[in-house]
């Protein structure tokens, strides 16, 4: 029926039951066409992408199933020697973490003394930020200590974060900030 087929009494479960002598409707003859066509949604995925769980540091393997550029399922990767396909409740909730509605999709800005968030374009926010970084650095640059020791730095800015980020990200953070003369760079390893 779903497929636009003509009504057939065979769809009437009771009749199929009678045909097979399954009078109590206890057998699979009572299956609807939906049930008959049931299949794991991952079957039709365009691809399964190898990934790693983003929560703790056990490092469980994950497979991310994608269909039409949307994630349809995330579960453990059986091939992983660490996790053998298992996940804990957090890992099993990764699908919700990355797809649910709690995520903010736009840059938000709170002006000084403001009482509300304002949405601003990403590009503008990046420009504003770069200007502020430059100003903080230029205003508070230290060439030498009062005792004459070399400093080459600014203590006007600090960074916190890294334990949840990729190695490549930590690398660029450390590299850029060190070049800017920022030393107060820290992460969760100390928290």
């Amino acid at each position: 029926m779903k497929n636009g087929k003509r009504f057939s009494p065979k769809h009437w479960a009771v009749l199929r039951q009678i045909e097979s002598g399954d009078l109590w409707g206890l057998d699979r003859n009572a299956m609807s066409s939906r049930t008959a066509g049931l299949a794991a949604r991952t079957k039709n995925a365009d691809r399964a992408v190898g990934s790693i769980c983003p929560y703790c540091a056990v490092g469980c393997g994950q497979l991310v199933y994608v269909k039409d550029e949307k994630i349809i399922d995330i579960e453990g990767d059986p091939a992983s020697p660490i996790s053998n396909g298992c996940l804990c409740p957090k890992g099993a909730a990764t699908f919700q973490l990355v797809t649910a509605t709690h995520r903010v999709h736009h840059v938000l800005y709170r002006r000084p003394y403001g009482t509300e968030w304002e949405q601003i374009p990403l590009d503008r926010a990046m420009n504003m930020l770069a200007e502020r970084v430059k100003k903080a650095r230029d205003d508070r640059w230290e060439d030498n200590s009062p005792e004459g020791d070399p400093l080459h730095r600014t203590m006007s800015m600090a960074h916190l974060g890294g334990a949840t980020l990729d190695n490549e990200e930590n690398y660029l953070i450390k590299k850029l900030f060190t070049a800017l003369g920022i030393v107060q760079i820290e992460n969760q390893a100390r928290i």
Partner: protein
């Protein structure tokens, strides 16, 4: 770990736990916090191994352990010290291992005095600086001058530390072994019972189980997590276990080792490639303003004439080539003076204190939530209020982003939103499924995750954010590049390939730089042994070198485990050089033969004249066991055939740490900053070298027996949530499983304080007060210590005011105080008060002053006995005047 064995990482890998005969889990609630890693513990248990869980609470780990040992929070060194004493008293140590592979035979300086002699202090205590002068801890006859190290990672100040005098019979009264014996002789079962609340028989049972399962045929492992690190003497907790494992011969062998269980996907990675102030990638130290004025100074202070750190200049020069490319030349000292320098401790809590004092303008917070996850949240927010601008990058508006309109002090009316000048930028982050990159897990394994879909809207990866910020800054500085201070920006190599409509950086190109390449042709190097100090190689992180060898992303390898042996070398890539079990030379005896067939891993193949085995040998591949260095040997050539700990200057596992620690060469039991009892072992109450922040907005309780705060508080995670909640409190599937903040108390404490299960309680410290639901449970056991009943209160710390489940934040209760070696705070043992009902007025010491009733000045006594005379500490802590006497 760094100071004991040479590298700051777990010595083994999780799957290897299945080979253990005994596993001690202490300072970790592994079943709850690392359930899938715990899979391997369960496999060991099913094979017949004994699982021992030492924890103040009976947790889901205890529930499936063979033995649960309830312990008073903050007394682990006393317990482990009791085990050391048992091993030594009963001659249960692994003699051949101890003599050949540890520094037990080394003879220590005649000047050294132990805590036995000085009532809890080591020699060298300087009352003025409140720090140790560490010269007297050195081996006899070795110049201690350059060896004044600091960091646990073993990154600081390496000297020519190689014992001049040894006694292989271990009988010399000043050899490490005898010092150790004396040091722990007072850690008797009786004293352990008095200190930890652990019955004598239980200590002996644990010690005996450990001993019985060690030796040639059997091995045991330790697992720890932040239950050990988050103490004012945290590094020494780990050191105590490190000593036990050396004495029992459990390092470098299958089923042995110390498994550090880390809590974030890439927390090991963020230490290896540090977003940490004191390190450059690969545990190279940041230059110090005072001592490292020139490259020559810096190298002299850090390279070691013996052991692996003789290679230091190769790693450093290659890093500078990676950072500054062609600009880094021999003539300009490879741009050494482009690097900013350190003039003290610039770690997180100091930064926050400075922020609260108005010394900072800008702050980047990426994937963290310090308002909830850090200590004394109110002080954190005070800092945020004093900033010009704050950047928060996360999935959703976490509490740190909303500090200006949603915080206890705002609700209480003490701080008004319209008075807060801080500009806040919130950038939505891309999820791990929306970017490619590598995480380094708890066993040093780099695993690549591939981008599956595009990030939604303006969500971007941190990689993208930093790259484009750098591009913009280079542009902004375009006209000022000739100014000396801007040269680092000018010369910073930043020409990464981008892809896609959003011009995202190709993450693999960064990994390639991390791996290293030859500067002439840009070809990836094969590993760190290929690095040079002549500028011909560039390498972003020497310990990761080899992760992109031959242009292949080794971290992305996903060969199924069923197609390889249990070590699974072809799954991803681990540092160093894809070795999975570090120091594995020690799995063979001095002659290079496995200690036993049952525990074989790596051995010397006399035919091939090479080390061979199931794992990549963590040793110089062709160095025979019989090799002994000549007097003239330098660098790697000093590593003898029986030196399994190749990163140590003397190749030995360090039972006694002659250099590299701030608070003593041997672990010593000190009480936490705030304790319910006096230190039963020594007159010295707390770790004398700990870091304090004595400020009005960070009040401390009395060091012991503070009548206002009679209970022990400890914080922890639950399986169902993740850290400060940013990745769990917004998810319905996790939130419904643990929907509210609660505290765990024993039935005895419940009746003492009138607490009802399912009802409410208010928990109070001098910093803050919070409310929580009450869970009365027999899993919390009151302990008997020195005839007194000690009650402990458990506090999970996941909640705050945003998300779909909300609750008060446990970390608001905790003060700033830290371990002197690694600046990690003490959140696993402190004191507080609990009362029934919802009595919180949302008060915070930061905004309303110390709101608890002021008490007599002598209650400010922080310590015994030395703090009575304590001057201004090293951490800007003008000591409060204290009175003599009245002890």
């Amino acid at each position: 770990m760094g100071t004991s064995y040479g590298r700051g990482g777990a010595t083994t890998f999780q799957q290897d736990l299945q080979n253990a005969d005994v596993i001690v889990i202490q300072g970790s609630n592994m079943a709850e916090c690392h359930p899938v890693g715990f899979r391997w513990v369960m496999k060991a248990r099913e094979r017949g191994a004994t699982i021992i869980h030492v924890d103040p609470r009976f947790t889901r780990t205890s529930a499936v352990a063979n033995i649960h040992v309830p312990i008073r929070a903050g007394s682990d060194i006393a317990f482990l010290g009791g085990i050391i004493n048992y091993i030594l008293k009963n001659d249960r140590y692994f003699k051949d291992y101890v003599i050949h592979y540890t520094n037990a035979p080394a003879i220590v300086s005649d000047e050294f005095r132990d805590t036995e002699d000085l009532d809890g202090l080591f020699s060298g205590w300087n009352q003025q600086t409140t720090q140790y002068d560490k010269e007297s801890w050195m081996y006899k006859g070795v110049d201690p001058a350059p060896a004044a190290g600091k960091r646990e990672a073993g990154a600081d100040r390496r000297g020519p530390i190689r014992a001049e005098h040894t006694d292989p019979t271990l009988q010399h009264p000043r050899c490490v072994f005898q010092i150790l014996k004396r040091h722990y002789s007072r850690y008797t079962p009786e004293v352990v019972e008095e200190t930890c609340g652990i019955p004598k028989a239980l200590l002996i049972k644990v010690a005996e189980t450990l001993c019985r399962n060690s030796g040639r045929e059997r091995t045991g492992a330790f697992c720890y997590a932040v239950g050990w690190t988050q103490h004012s003497v945290g590094v020494q907790y780990i050191r105590t276990a490190a000593i036990i494992q050396l004495l029992l011969g459990n390092i470098g062998r299958p089923g042995g080792g110390i498994m550090a269980l880390r809590g974030h996907a890439s927390i090991q990675g963020s230490t290896d490639i540090p977003t940490l102030y004191n390190l450059l990638p690969g545990y190279l130290p940041m230059p110090k303003a005072k001592s490292d004025a020139t490259l020559a100074d810096y190298c002299r202070n850090n390279e070691s004439p013996s052991g692996w750190w003789g290679e230091f200049p190769k790693y450093f020069v290659s890093l500078m080539k990676a950072y500054f490319g062609g600009a880094a030349q021999k003539e300009n000292d490879w741009c050494y003076d482009y690097l900013p320098t350190l003039s003290g401790d610039h770690s997180h809590m100091n930064t926050v204190a400075d922020m609260a004092d108005g010394k900072l303008k800008g702050y980047f917070v990426m994937g963290e939530n310090p308002s909830v996850g850090s200590m004394n949240g109110a002080l954190q927010r005070k800092g945020l209020r004093k900033l010009d601008w704050l950047v928060v990058r996360d999935f959703q508006l976490i509490e740190t982003a909303e500090f200006w309109r949603d915080a206890p002090e705002i609700h209480r009316g003490e701080v008004k939103t319209k008075d807060i000048a801080t500009e806040v930028f919130f950038f939505p982050g891309a999820a791990h499924t929306e970017k490619s990159g590598s995480f380094t897990n708890t066993q040093r394994l780099l695993q690549w995750h591939h981008k599956a879909v595009e990030p939604p809207g303006d969500c971007r990866s941190e990689l993208d954010f930093i790259y484009h910020l750098g591009v913009r800054l280079k542009k902004l500085y375009a006209r000022e590049l000739n100014e000396r201070r801007n040269w680092p920006i000018r010369d910073l190599t930043w020409n990464y390939p981008t892809e896609g409509p959003r011009h995202e950086v190709v993450a693999e190109s960064i990994l390639e730089e991390i791996n290293g390449y030859t500067t002439s042709d840009g070809k990836p190097v094969a590993g760190y042994t290929s690095l040079k100090d002549d500028g011909s190689t560039a390498c972003g992180t020497w310990i990761y070198s080899g992760c992109y060898r031959d242009g292949i992303n080794m971290t992305a390898r996903r060969k199924p485990h069923w197609e390889q042996n249990w070590v699974a070398h072809d799954w991803a890539w681990s540092w160093p050089s894809n070795r999975r079990l570090m120091y594995n030379r020690a799995s063979a005896d001095p002659e290079g033969r496995p200690w036993s067939d049952r525990k074989k891993l790596v051995w010397w193949d006399e035919q091939k004249k090479r080390w061979d085995g199931y794992d990549t040998p963590d040793f110089i591949a062709d160095r025979p066991p019989s090799y002994r260095p000549s007097k003239e040997a330098r660098g790697k050539d000093t590593i003898s055939g029986i030196d399994p700990f190749i990163m140590q200057a003397d190749g030995k596992g360090w039972i006694f740490v002659p250099a590299g620690l701030e608070d003593g060469p041997l672990p010593t039991h000190y009480e936490p900053e705030e304790s319910v009892i006096r230190n039963p072992l020594y007159g010295q109450q707390c770790n004398p070298a700990r870091m304090e922040w004595r400020r009005r907005d960070n009040p401390y309780h009395r060091a012991f027996e503070d009548p206002r705060f009679p209970y022990v508080l400890t914080t922890y995670r639950l399986t169902e949530h993740h850290t400060a909640g940013g990745m769990s409190r917004w998810l319905s599937w996790l939130s419904e499983l643990q929907p509210e903040m609660f505290c765990e108390v024993s039935p005895e404490l419940a009746s003492e304080r009138g607490l009802a299960n399912g009802g409410w309680a208010t928990i109070r410290t001098a910093r803050a007060e919070i409310e929580a639901r009450v869970l009365v449970t027999e899993r919390m056991k009151p302990l008997r210590v020195r005839g007194r009943t000690i009650h402990q209160i458990g506090l999970p710390y996941h909640w705050s005011s945003r998300g779909i489940v909300v609750g008060d934040t446990a970390n608001e209760l905790i003060m700033f105080v830290a371990d002197p070696n690694v600046s990690i705070q003490e959140s696993k043992a402190f004191t507080g008060m609990i009362e029934a009902g919802r009595k919180s007025k949302e008060r915070r010491a930061v905004t309303s002053g110390a709101f608890v009733k002021q008490i007599d000045p002598e209650y400010w006594q922080r310590d015994l006995p030395i703090a009575r005379n304590r001057g201004g500490g090293p951490h800007d802590s003008k000591a409060v005047e204290t009175k003599e006497g009245n002890m």
